[in-house]
Amino acid sequence: MDINVKCFASARELLQRSELVLTLADGATIDDVERAIRALSPELGKMPFMLAHNKAYPEAGTPVREGDELAIIPPVSGG
């Protein structure tokens, strides 16, 4: 299945795009999404980030489905 992942701030700069598509096996979890993202580049492999799943922070092991909204959340800096 194909999963769309939004990229913000430093993640967007690093990947030079605001969205990417990951192809994952059916039954994949949020942990598989993180592994696939970290495998995209050595910089991403080391970069601290959280993932958002349908605009919330998921628990480890949360299953993902085609059509879900995923996002890379680099360290935030609001306020």
Binding site: A9, K55, A56, Y57, P74, V76, S77, G78, G79
Partner: protein, 128 residues
């Protein structure tokens, strides 16, 4: 009572929709203001981006947690995004409680949480 907003408009004098309450003993308003120095450079404005939908949702979530944790009467928050000139507010928080201690503690906790989980980023600056 909680509220949370994200806006590109100026928020320095933002008026929250608050209701009168006889049990209210403390009201604390905090304006987080853009300073003229960032990473050692003099700047004219800071640029913020946010994850639309989630940023507001997370603000509301931690506002609710603060109300619960500190037994507040209310916590209202607005965060500005886009380009914010030096001297203008990036965030405004209004906390209300029966006693001052709860509001003071809640504000510190809320701002720390905001800086950990709310998907808003400083993404650059303009020179002075």
């Amino acid at each position: 009572m909680i509220s949370a907003h994200i806006t590109i408009d100026r928020i320095d004098s933002w008026e929250f929709d608050t209701a009168a309450s006889g049990s209210l003993g403390a009201e604390l308003r905090f304006n987080g203001i853009v300073r003229d120095m960032e990473a050692g450079n003099r700047i004219g404005a800071l640029h913020y981006e946010h994850y639309e939908g989630m940023a507001e949702q997370e603000l509301r979530r931690i506002a609710g947690m603060a109300v619960e944790r500190f037994s507040l009467e209310a916590l209202h928050c607005v965060h500005r995004v886009g380009s914010i000139p030096v001297g203008e507010s990036a965030v405004v928080v209004l906390v209300r409680s029966k006693h001052r201690g709860e509001s003071l503690q809640a504000l510190a906790w809320f701002m720390d949480e905001l800086k950990q989980v709310v998907p808003i980023w400083k993404v650059g600056s303009s020179p002075a």
